[in-house]
Structures are given as structure tokens and as C-alpha cells.
């Protein structure tokens, strides 16, 4: 085996095709897109070289800034919610429900498998107002409160989007973190209990440090996914009202495909890529620090 892997030709033959496919379908478009950031136009009208104009346009574009800010806000709030709720559920599975957790796990996980667009339409109806009041507004009215037009404001839509995504994804993060928690040796927990660590102290000083690697993976996973949100906000309220819940991805999509400006769209894509990279690096760095401390 060693002789096979030591042979450079064998490595080339084994990895070559995969590497070639990866290069063609992944790296070429990425660098192509990077190249487009210096141009304006589309395949039909042709491309004109504009240098760094697209980047200065991005810096001055109020819609791009608002989309950037919204993307960060959405990613931060949703990731925090996903991790906290997911971790709480995982703790519930391991320490409270124990062997009986299978049913609850399945039920909470179920929304993850539903298509986003279907879930968005469901929540659109749940929070509807006007003559076709949804259950949420009917509920508010039945307890004497006035109905809220959730989708007429950016804040309202944001709240619905967060609630919807938490409902949809917390089961997934719960299972992910549950896998990390069940890996903690029972003996370690037992000895901690004998030392008098129970409840919150057990979680804070034993469970949390031992499940840190999987927790950090979840954070990276969650932040990267939420930074790239697209379908949720498109299906829920079309990125509106106005552009108030338009993330960078949707703005990029519209710029390229609706306004036929491939160059500026690629610039937005580039900013998004850099952002995802930075966040991942930041999480990795903090992870290294935390592990040494633990």
C-alpha cells in the first residue's frame, strides 16, 4: 500500500480525474467570476473593462450596504439561535430524555427535511393579515391584542424569518451536537458527579469543554449557511418590503440575472466569499485559543 501511495504516478492517476473535475466545475468558475469583477456588461452586450469601479460602486451603493448589514444581522441572530437552541435540545436528549429521546429527536428533526419554499409559504399563511388572517393574528385578536401586519415592515419579516428558520433547523443542530455529547465518556461524567458537579456546573465545566470541537464545527457550519441565505427570504417576502430583508445573495442574483450586470454581481459574490472566509478563519482562531484554555 505504502509503495502505491509513494508512487507519484499512482497518486496522479488516482487523484488526477477528481482534481480535474474539481478544477473545471469549481475553481475555473470561481476565478472566472473573480475576473468579471473588473468588467461590466453581460454575455449578450459584451464586457467592458472598468478596473476597480465595481468595488468603489459597492462601497457607495446604499442598497449593497443595507444588504451587507442585513446579511450580518441575520447570520448573527440566526446562528446564535440555532446553536443555543440546538445545544439546549441536545442536552435535553442526553441528560433528561436519555433513551426515550428517539421520538422527540425525530419530531424536532422533521422540519429539516421539508423544502424551504414550502415552509416559507406555510409561515406566510401562518402570519398573514387582512381578510385572510393567519392563526397568529387570529390568536392575537382573540386575546384582545390587535393584529400585526408582519410582512409590511422589515422588522416584522425579520422576526418571522428567524422564527421560521429556527423551527426548521434547530432539530438538525440538535442532532449534530447530540452526536458530540454522546461521545463524552460516561466515566468522566460519573467522576465529575462524584466530585459534586451537577446541573449547570457539570455542563459549564465538563460537558461544554469536552463538546467544544463539535460545537465549533456547528458554529462554522451555521454561520456559513446563514451568511448565504437566499431561498428563505426570497420565498417569505421576496426580500421585502422594499429591500429591507434582501441579503447579499439575493441582491447579487438580481444584479446578475434581472439587471444583466454580471460584473457588479460578481463583485457582490466576491465580497460574500471574502466574508465567509473571514468568519471561518475567525472561528478557527478562537477555537484554537479556547481549546488551549480548556
Amino acid at each position: 500500500m505504502q509503495s502505491v501511495l509513494g508512487d507519484k504516478k499512482a497518486i496522479l492517476i488516482l487523484l488526477g480525474p477528481a482534481l480535474l473535475v474539481y478544477t473545471l466545475v469549481k475553481l475555473v468558475p470561481v476565478f472566472w467570476s473573480l475576473g468579471l469583477t473588473f468588467y461590466t456588461g453581460n454575455p449578450l452586450s459584451g464586457f467592458d473593462f472598468v478596473g476597480l469601479d465595481n468595488f468603489s460602486r459597492f462601497a457607495e451603493d446604499p442598497q449593497a450596504r443595507s444588504a451587507l448589514w442585513f446579511t450580518l444581522k441575520y447570520a448573527f441572530v440566526l446562528s446564535a439561535g440555532q446553536i443555543v437552541l440546538g445545544y439546549a435540545l441536545a442536552l435535553l436528549y442526553v441528560f433528561v430524555l436519555r433513551r426515550a429521546s428517539t421520538f422527540v429527536r425525530t419530531v424536532v428533526f422533521f422540519p429539516t427535511v421539508l423544502p424551504t419554499v414550502a415552509v416559507a409559504l406555510l409561515f406566510n399563511s401562518l402570519f398573514a393579515t387582512g381578510q385572510r388572517d393567519g392563526p397568529v393574528n387570529s390568536g392575537l385578536e382573540s386575546v384582545g391584542l390587535s393584529a400585526v401586519d408582519w410582512f409590511s415592515t422589515g422588522t416584522g419579516t425579520f422576526v418571522v424569518a428567524i422564527v421560521m428558520e429556527l423551527w426548521r433547523s434547530m432539530g438538525f443542530y440538535a442532532v449534530l451536537l447530540y452526536a458530540g455529547l454522546v461521545d463524552i465518556p460516561e466515566e468522566t461524567l460519573e467522576s465529575a458527579r462524584l466530585e459534586g458537579a451537577t446541573g449547570w456546573r457539570l455542563v459549564r465545566h465538563v460537558v461544554l469543554p469536552l463538546s467544544l470541537p463539535v460545537l465549533l464545527s456547528s458554529v462554522i457550519f451555521s454561520v456559513n449557511n446563514t451568511l448565504k441565505v437566499f431561498d428563505t427570504l426570497l420565498a417569505l417576502n421576496n426580500g421585502g418590503p422594499g429591500g429591507e430583508t434582501t441579503p447579499l445573495t439575493l441582491y447579487m442574483y438580481r444584479t446578475v440575472f434581472n439587471y444583466a450586470d454580471y460584473g457588479y454581481g460578481s463583485t457582490i459574490a466576491f465580497v460574500l466569499t471574502v466574508m465567509c472566509l473571514l468568519v471561518t478563519l475567525m472561528v478557527f482562531r478562537s477555537a484554537r485559543r479556547d481549546i488551549t484554555r480548556a
Partner: protein, 439 residues
């Protein structure tokens, strides 16, 4: 050993090169199929918006009757595309030299300065129809609307829509309100209806355009029919006080709750249902709404209970209600490269028969002359048809001369304007900034 080594290396290189070449060919090959890839088309490929079946249904009907000969020589093959994907799809098809014979395209694309117009990728119907001897089958008013919207005869007037205010006669009578002649009358009427617990005006707010239509019409009534052309030419700005006043007038209606609850998320179906069920007193809409109004299953208030008036005058304004807002449906262009005598036969047949056929079968008013007798036209349709034939001057819609991004911002921000989350001057300055960017 060294020979074997070289052989193996050569084999590896060949496999890698072959895989790469295969992938490149698979990825880059363009689909000529029925497209305009240089050779004459073998079918009359038609691409229409999925949301609007009028054109494809009517051409299919014609292919079985009046246009059977053309159909036999060049069979009709219909495909659809979501309205929101039109620009993307046409850009890609055109760049791959694979445009269908006749296709829907973005308004900005077909203009002489647009990507399709600039590249001479689409035919000028005026010249083509004149060559075929059927130019007289296009109504002059419709031709003028198409030319002012698209800069040339880049589209056929498969629909010729006029727009105005549909109102519920019974609700008006019950509340002792006369159809409004001026904007102030309309506001006063709306207040009365609101007090009576009726939704004064319903619109499909989620679509944006029904709201921008109101802004546009207010501008045309107060500043005259050339108001938006002045913006396009840079002679006026949307941030000028008279233009901002239009946005403010509509925003005031919204913040006063004149559109009812949930206006910003109301869909077309919901808005239509609200009017057709008698829950709303007025609705600004186009003549395409006749299909719903003439359908007893949908129209619970009865077609005889529906009145139609022009958008009211604005006190002291330069425009007046005889200037009807008109449009000729989505731009439907013809690929230059696909034009052959067989396509010409199709065009000739369509020009001669479409007008009467679509009115008879679907009750739709088009910009084609009705060459055959049409029976049993519903009264409301006749009324609108009469307006179309008598209209001396028409105006376009608010976004007609705008680029794709400005159009999109105008429509998406309309919701914020109605709820008071965006001030009228901010709304207009955003659009002006878009227009400046596009120049």
C-alpha cells in the same frame, strides 16, 4: 522498465486529456435545436411568460384553424418561462445564438439601445409587416403605443390594454357617492367608504406595479403626458417637487388605510377576489381584468354592477382624463436570424386573424384589427373596446422608460411608501439615483 514507465505515463496523460476535452465539449456546446443557430428553423418556436396564457392559447387555436397551412409548413412549438426569469433566459439564449423564433423579452432589452435592439437581433415588425402587406391590420393607436414604449416596432400588440378605475356601482349607490372626476373626489369617496367599513381601493400590493401605476398616472394628470419622457431625457428629475407630490398623494392614501389591511402582501388573486366578492369599492386595473369580470364563477357582484372610469384629473393639472394609459402587453419579439418565408406566412396569418380570434375566444382586446365578425361580446368589453378605438392620445406607465433596476426598485419600494416606512422624497431620490447610475 523505462519503456513500460513511459507507456503508463502516456496512458495517464491521454486519459486525463480525454476527460478534460469531453467535459469542455459537454460544458461549452450550445444547443442549436430549434433556435436561431444560423440555419432555417424547423418549427415556429414560441416562448411566452408562464403567467399569461393568452398568446400561446390563441396561436394554438389559430394553428388548428385559420393558420393550419402555416402550421403544416412550420409547426408551432410553445415553451414558457417565468416572467421574473425572462431577462436572464433571453440574455443566455441570445448569447448562445439559440433564440426561439418568437419570444417574450425584457422591455429594456428590445429598445434600440437595449442588448437585443443594439445587436439587430430582432426584426422591426413595421417593415416586415409592410413587406407582407398586412401592416394595416395593426391598429394605429396600438402601433404608436408599442413604438413609444419600445422605441421601435419591436413587439406585436398581442394584447392592447387600457387601464382605469373599475368600481362597484352598488357600493357607490348605497353610499350616495358619484364616480370621482378628480383626485380630491377620489380621496373624499375613499374616506366615505372607509367610514362605512368597505375597503375603498384594493390593489395587488405585493406586485408593486399596481401602486406605481397610481403614482405614474398622478404624474401624467398633473404634469401632462410628456412628464416621464422629460425624466428620461434628463430635462426633469423625479426629485422635483411636482413628481414627489405624486408619490406623496399615493403614500397618503396608504398611510390613511385606504387600501385596507395587508395591502403590502396582497396578491393579485386576493385583490381580484376582494373586488369580485364585493368587499372593495374600487380597483385600478387594466382591460385584462375583463377575463375575470366576465366570468360569472369569479364575479359575484355581476358584470352589470361594474363601472369603469378613467383615472381622475388632478386639480390644476396639465393632463386630463381623456389621455388613457395604454400598453401592448409584454414585449414579444421575433429573432432576425429565424425569419424565413415560412415564418412570414405565420406572421401574415396572425396579423389577419388574431384580433377577431382572441376577442371571440378569450374576450381579450388586442392591437390587431378585427377582420371577422365577433359575436356575443359582453357589454363591459364593448365599452372598453370603444374607448380603445376612440382614444386619441395615450400615455405609458410609470416605469415604461426606465431600466430594469429602476423598475424593480420602484416596484419593491412601493410597499414601504404605502406604510410610511419610506418618505416620498426618499422614494423618488432612490429611483433618480438608479436612473443616474444607468446613464
Amino acid at each position: 522498465m523505462s519503456v513500460a514507465k513511459t507507456g503508463r505515463r502516456g496512458w495517464a496523460v491521454r486519459v486525463t486529456a480525454a476527460t478534460g476535452a469531453a467535459l469542455l465539449l459537454a460544458g461549452c456546446a450550445s444547443d442549436n435545436g430549434s433556435g436561431s443557430g444560423g440555419s432555417a428553423p424547423d418549427k415556429f418556436s414560441l416562448l411566452t411568460p408562464a403567467e399569461n396564457a393568452i398568446i400561446r392559447d390563441e396561436l394554438t387555436a389559430l394553428s388548428k384553424n385559420q393558420c393550419a397551412t402555416a402550421e403544416k409548413a412550420l409547426p408551432l412549438s410553445s415553451e414558457t418561462v417565468a416572467q421574473s426569469d425572462v431577462v436572464q433566459k433571453i440574455t443566455l439564449l441570445a448569447s448562445q445564438d439559440a433564440l426561439p423564433v418568437m419570444f417574450v423579452a425584457g422591455t429594456a432589452q428590445v429598445k434600440p439601445t437595449g442588448d437585443l435592439g443594439k445587436g439587430k437581433l430582432i426584426v422591426d415588425y413595421e417593415q416586415t409587416l409592410k413587406d407582407l402587406g398586412v401592416w394595416d391590420d395593426i391598429l394605429p393607436a396600438a402601433a404608436s403605443t408599442v413604438k413609444s414604449a419600445y422605441g421601435s416596432m419591436a413587439s406585436l400588440p398581442f394584447q392592447y390594454n387600457i387601464e382605469g378605475v373599475f368600481y362597484n356601482k352598488k357600493i357607490f349607490a348605497d353610499n350616495g357617492v358619484q364616480p370621482p372626476q378628480t383626485w380630491d373626489d377620489l380621496v373624499a369617496a375613499a374616506q366615505k367608504f372607509k367610514g362605512a367599513g368597505v375597503v375603498p381601493i384594493t390593489e395587488a400590493g405585493s406586485q408593486g406595479w399596481p401602486i406605481t401605476r397610481l403614482i405614474g398616472m398622478y404624474i401624467f394628470r398633473s404634469l401632462g403626458p410628456d412628464a416621464m419622457t422629460a425624466i428620461q431625457k434628463g430635462e426633469a428629475k423625479l426629485t422635483d417637487p411636482q413628481y414627489v407630490a405624486a408619490a406623496k398623494a399615493v403614500a397618503d392614501l396608504g398611510t390613511a388605510g385606504m387600501f385596507g389591511e395587508g395591502i403590502t402582501s396582497r396578491t393579485t388573486d386576493a385583490a381580484n377576489a376582494q373586488f369580485l366578492n364585493g368587499q372593495a369599492a374600487m380597483m385600478y386595473n387594466g382591460s385584462w381584468f375583463l377575463a375575470n369580470l366576465n366570468d360569472p364563477k369569479q364575479n359575484k357582484i355581476g358584470a352589470e354592477n361594474v363601472g369603469f372610469i378613467p383615472f381622475p384629473n388632478v386639480a390644476g393639472g396639465k393632463g386630463d382624463s381623456s389621455q388613457w394609459p395604454a400598453n401592448a402587453g409584454a414585449a414579444t419579439a421575433l429573432a432576425t436570424k429565424s425569419y424565413t418565408p415560412k415564418v412570414g406566412d405565420w406572421l401574415k396569418c396572425v396579423a389577419e386573424n388574431y384580433g377577431s380570434s382572441v376577442l371571440q375566444n378569450q374576450g381579450v382586446i388586442s392591437g390587431f384589427r378585427t377582420n371577422q365578425q365577433v359575436s356575443n361580446v359582453p357589454p363591459l368589453t364593448s365599452q372598453l373596446q370603444e374607448i380603445v378605438s376612440e382614444a386619441s392620445q395615450t400615455v405609458l406607465w410609470f416605469e415604461a422608460l426606465m431600466d430594469a433596476k429602476t423598475t424593480s426598485d420602484a416596484q419593491t419600494n412601493a410597499a414601504l411608501l404605502l406604510t410610511g416606512k419610506m418618505a416620498p422624497d426618499k422614494y423618488m431620490s432612490t429611483l433618480q439615483a438608479d436612473l443616474d447610475q444607468a446613464r
